[in-house]
């Protein structure tokens, strides 16, 4: 290419270039200075701000929920274990449009209103980058669906967590209780540091009473995450301390026997080992499937339980307060002997009814409607207990007076909470003049003493109290607070006995013999259940009125509506010579003690006669059949 030739001035050009280059160099230095100033500002002046920000970015404190302690029966049968359950959670910070994500999730799997409500509540309390649970118990199918669609939904995670499971469904519902998801009130009350990462808390029963033991201690790990929230490595880790495994005194076989013996009737059975105070069986029927509550019961299911006239959620064993009826008679007999008002030989005339001196009102004996007369012309203590003579105890009660009666019966634990280690226990009522003044602001009337003498009127007791009282009878005056907990992580838990009734052995002998005669004599009120019995039991029948019966009216069972029929009660301990079990049974509206006594016999047989079929029971009944309602297999057996 031909170059046009120009005359140029190299010296002049050179000056221009030098000037421009110098200017450029200065500009470069200035701009570099500006950049450096910016970096100085970021790296030196605002270092702390950005350092904190980068730490927050990457390091996440994650809680490691502890494994909840397991609950065993006395023979090692697992009553409450933990099973992996898949939880769908959302990390809010990683979700752009929460509503859209929730909407999309709802097209994939069912999410109930209560799930959403729960989720929204927890969303308010979360720490940044904390996974907030939305749905529990994902099925295999749901997990697969989520796995396929997850890439479209950042911030949505599926984690496995151990969640409580009750292998025997409703068999132990009232004995063990259940855990449930922490609700808002509980969230206020609980120390949230202890419940980081734990979604469940003991709601009722042993699960609630021993919450502190079972919960364990939460662990933490500092994890480094990437921008997508994936954990890359664990910087430091404080392992969670699993909750203690606890063993209860409960006996699977006994519990099962009691439930079967109740056979669908409403009632309660409490069995206690009098030597330890250990609760061997705690049954309240109907029960419910505890598993329903673990991950939030549906409102439909809850409504059914709530509105059932059989009140399945009501723990009759500790909450049910019933007039103990004639079951107090052995205790009354002891009080009579202790007070010196009677001896075993003392007799009382029994025309079938009793009147207070100077009062024409007749207090009838239950035998009157059957025989038209009393038990015998004269009744002594042995006969009074064995045949459950009301007149004898009307007379004794009158002479004892209500306040002394109160003091003597107090030693059996009536009128106060037994302190059994479960929740919602009621104290019952052991009336006295003072009690009536305090509770009702009314004076005590003499006729009320007679009712109290046969365990009616104001007197109320829970099955737990009656079992504890029976245990006091069995141990000749030693009171042990009933306990469900047998050992913590293999460490036995003993409860100290307290001698609450101090009486000569002869008194105890006399009362025990009269109780033995209830079953083991030709005129005993429960002689029917004694057939083929390989041991001797001391017991007492009881019937408690549900409705008041007008003066002179006769109670005819068949004419009374089912719900108004009398409750049947029965207390017993056995073997009579060296008691190893004390039991109290109540059958609501059973009509009379005859509804309760065979149940007690079945329970005592199971304890004393049967080879306890531990092996058979220790297997997980529902584990083999996925999808089947837990416990269903047992009911069918």
């Amino acid at each position: 290419m031909p170059q046009p030739i120009h005359l140029k001035d190299p010296g002049g050009d050179s000056r221009i270039f030098i000037a421009r280059t110098l200017f450029s160099a200065l500009l470069v230095l200035a701009l570099m200075g500006m950049i450096l100033a910016r970096y100085y500002d970021l790296q030196i002046n605002d270092y702390e701000i950005y350092r904190t920000q980068s730490e927050r970015n990457r390091v996440q404190l994650q809680s490691l929920p502890p494994k909840r302690g397991l609950i065993y029966d006395r023979n090692g049968v697992l009553l409450a274990d933990n099973r992996p359950s898949h939880i769908l959670s959302i990390i809010r910070e990683r979700v752009d449009d929460l509503d859209a994500t929730l909407g999309e999730l709802q097209t994939l799997l069912p999410i109930s209103e209560s799930d959403l409500e729960n989720f929204q509540q927890k969303l308010q309390r979360r720490r940044p980058y904390e996974a907030v649970p939305l749905r529990f118990r994902l099925t295999e199918e749901e997990r697969a669906l989520l796995a396929v669609n997850r890439h479209r939904m950042p911030g949505v995670t599926v984690d496995a967590q151990l969640v409580r499971h009750y292998p025997y469904g409703d068999l132990f519902s009232h004995a063990v209780g259940y855990v449930g998801r922490i609700n808002e009130q509980e969230a206020e009350r609980l120390d949230e540091r202890d419940y980081r990462g734990t979604f469940h808390v003991g709601k009722v029963g042993v699960e609630k009473f021993y919450e502190d033991l079972l919960l364990g201690e939460v662990g933490y790990q500092n994890v480094e995450t990437n921008a997508h929230g994936r954990v890359l490595r664990v910087l430091e880790r404080f392992d969670p301390v699993p909750g203690a495994d606890i063993t209860l005194h409960l006996d699977f076989h006994l519990q099962q026997t009691a439930v079967e013996a109740l056979g669908g009737q409403r009632g309660a059975v409490v069995a206690i080992d009098p030597l330890t105070g250990g609760v061997l069986a705690l049954v309240s029927t109907p029960g419910y499937d505890s598993n329903l509550f673990v991950n939030g019961i549906s409102s439909a299911d809850y409504k059914i339980l709530r509105n059932s006239p059989d009140v399945p959620l009501f723990n009759r064993a500790v909450q049910g307060q019933y007039p103990p009826g004639s079951t107090v008679k052995p205790m009354m007999a002891m009080a009579g002997l202790q007070s010196g008002l009677v001896t075993p030989e003392t007799t009382v005339a029994d025309p079938g009814w009793y009147s207070l001196p100077g009062d024409s009102r007749r207090y009838r004996d239950w035998i009157l409607k059957i025989r038209g007369t009393g038990h015998a012309p004269r009744v002594d203590m042995h006969m009074a207990v064995a045949e459950s003579c009301d007149v004898y105890f009307y007379d004794l009660a009158r002479r004892l007076t209500i306040d002394r009666m109160h003091d003597y019966l107090l030693g059996y634990g009536l009128g106060q909470r037994t302190g059994v280690d479960t929740t919602n226990e009621r104290p019952g009522v052991l009336p006295s003049t003072r009690w009536k003044r305090d509770a009702m602001n009314q004076p005590w009337y003499p006729g009320e003493t007679l009712s109290a003498g046969i365990g009616q009127g104001y007197m109320l007791a829970t099955p737990m109290q009656l079992a504890a009282a029976t245990s006091v009878l069995a141990t000749r005056g030693l009171y042990r607070a009933p306990r469900l907990l047998r050992s913590i992580a293999g460490e036995p838990q003993l409860s100290d006995p307290r001698e609450t009734i101090s009486a000569p052995p002869a008194y105890w002998d006399a009362v025990h013999e009269s109780m033995v005669a209830v079953v083991h004599s030709t005129r005993g009120t429960a002689r029917k259940i004694g057939e083929g019995m390989r041991y001797q039991m001391a017991s007492k029948t009881g019937t408690s009125q549900v409705i008041g019966i007008a003066q002179n009216a006769i109670y005819v069972e068949s004419e009374v509506a089912e719900r108004h029929r009398n409750h049947g009660l029965f207390i017993a301990f056995a073997p009579y010579e060296a008691p190893t079990i004390a039991v109290a049974v109540i059958v609501e509206n059973g009509g009379g003690a005859s509804a309760a006594s065979p149940i007690a016999r079945a329970v005592l047989d199971a304890w004393l006669v049967d080879e306890a079929p531990v092996e058979e029971a220790s297997g997980d009944a529902s584990g083999e059949v996925p999808g089947q309602a837990p416990g269903a297999a047992l009911v069918d057996e």
Binding site: Q3, R20, S24, I35, R38, Y39, I44, Y50, S54, N57
Partner: protein, 381 residues
């Protein structure tokens, strides 16, 4: 004329002179520049290893790019300046044609059409222009007297505007600006009057509104808006800037240590091995590392200016000045944008960011610079 005459004398003495000249000069290498560039590439590879997730493969690939780039530089340094001067208009024409070709046959990604694919080999014609642009303007001015007169300035502006406009339409704002700048720098070095510069500056301010309204794409506007207020879109467009500022700031003076940058190693930092690699360096090596890198860059730029001043031909001066200034623009725009001073325009950190194209182009530019530095007429006087 005098250039021409001096060069005519050379063939006669060349064998004699080359025997006396040191090896580097005979190989047309500028040793200080070569040393600085080597230092820079090594430093760059160290940072890249960390930024690319400690993958050896990425390091090897980048090393291969460097090897290729040094070869290109070496070849570029051997070519006589006269040849560049003669060839540049033809390259310009070819470059513009290729850019037009991109418009019709180009392939691309993310809504931009930047690549030409020939027989499975993909390349960006705009990269060619990065070198051709200053050469062409320098060629045009070198024969027309300095400082350039008004009509020549207008002609130069048209020369610059044509390829820049084509690239802007791809659209690739960053490259368009760099190429326009490389052309304009020639004008500046050539001594264009300050009145032009001031006037252009005013015009740029006045045209900002129509450019904003009609020229800039939405994503480009978004970048500028995000720059002004990164907090407005924390997880979207602002994420990059917030994360890169956090990376830089958290490095402090000492840095978190090589391979220990949490922002970069944990994917918080986007584009950590390409455009945002300075944030990795700042996080892991701290302000000390930034100062070290800046020093190397500054020395390279100053060496470039030295070559500019010492060059003997006007063509060489203009080319050297423009190449040096363009190199600095890379540095300034990249470091500025990562630190949140400038909008994110997609300019790599020269010779540190991963990627072959920019490395090869840049090293070819340095080859050009060495050709200027070792031009017989320049050194042997």
């Amino acid at each position: 004329m005098s250039d021409y005459v001096r060069q005519l004398q050379i063939p006669g003495d060349s064998s004699d002179l080359s025997r006396r000249a040191p090896l580097a000069l005979r190989l047309h290498l500028d040793l200080p520049l070569l040393l600085l560039l080597t230092l820079l590439t090594v430093f760059g590879l160290v940072v890249l290893y960390s930024a690319a997730g400690q993958k050896m493969a990425a390091l090897i690939r980048q090393g291969q790019y460097f090897l290729l780039a040094f070869c290109v530089m070496f070849v570029a340094a051997q070519i006589d300046l006269k040849r560049y001067q003669r060839w540049s208009p033809w390259f310009y024409v070819l470059g513009v044609m290729l850019l037009v070709g991109v418009m019709f046959f180009g392939v691309g990604a993310k809504g931009a059409q930047r690549w030409l694919s020939v027989g499975g080999f993909r390349f960006q014609p705009s990269e060619i222009l990065k070198l051709v642009m200053p050469l062409t303007v320098a060629w045009y001015l070198s024969s027309r007297g300095l400082p350039p007169r008004f009509k020549y300035v207008i002609a130069c502006l048209l020369l610059v505007a044509l390829p820049s406009g084509l690239i802007l339409m791809q659209p690739d704002l960053g490259t368009a600006l760099l190429i326009a700048a490389s052309g304009l720098f020639v004008l500046f070095v050539a001594g264009i009057g300050w009145s032009y510069i001031l006037g252009a500056f005013l015009l740029a301010c006045l045209s900002a509104w129509p450019v904003w309204m009609y020229v800039l794409k939405d994503y480009q506007k978004q970048r500028i808006l995000t720059l002004l207020n990164p907090e407005s879109d924390k997880l979207g467009a602002g994420w990059n800037i917030i994360q890169s500022k956090t990376a830089i700031g958290s490095g402090g003076w000492d840095g978190k240590g090589w391979l220990n940058g949490t922002q970069s190693q944990l994917d918080f930092l986007p584009e950590s091995h390409t455009d945002f690699i300075i944030a990795v360096l700042a996080e892991e090596f701290g302000m000390r590392g930034v100062l070290a890198l800046m020093s190397i860059y500054l020395l390279i730029v100053l060496r470039g200016f030295w070559i500019t001043v010492r060059a003997n031909s006007n063509f060489g001066r203009m080319v050297a000045g423009s190449v040096t200034l363009t190199f600095f623009v890379y540095i300034f725009v990249n470091m500025g944008m990562v630190a949140g001073l400038l909008p994110v325009v997609g300019v790599p950190l020269p010779l540190v960011s991963a990627g072959g194209t920019s490395v090869v182009t840049l090293m070819a530019g340095f080859g050009l610079l060495m050709a200027v530095a070792t031009a017989d007429s320049g050194r042997l006087r």
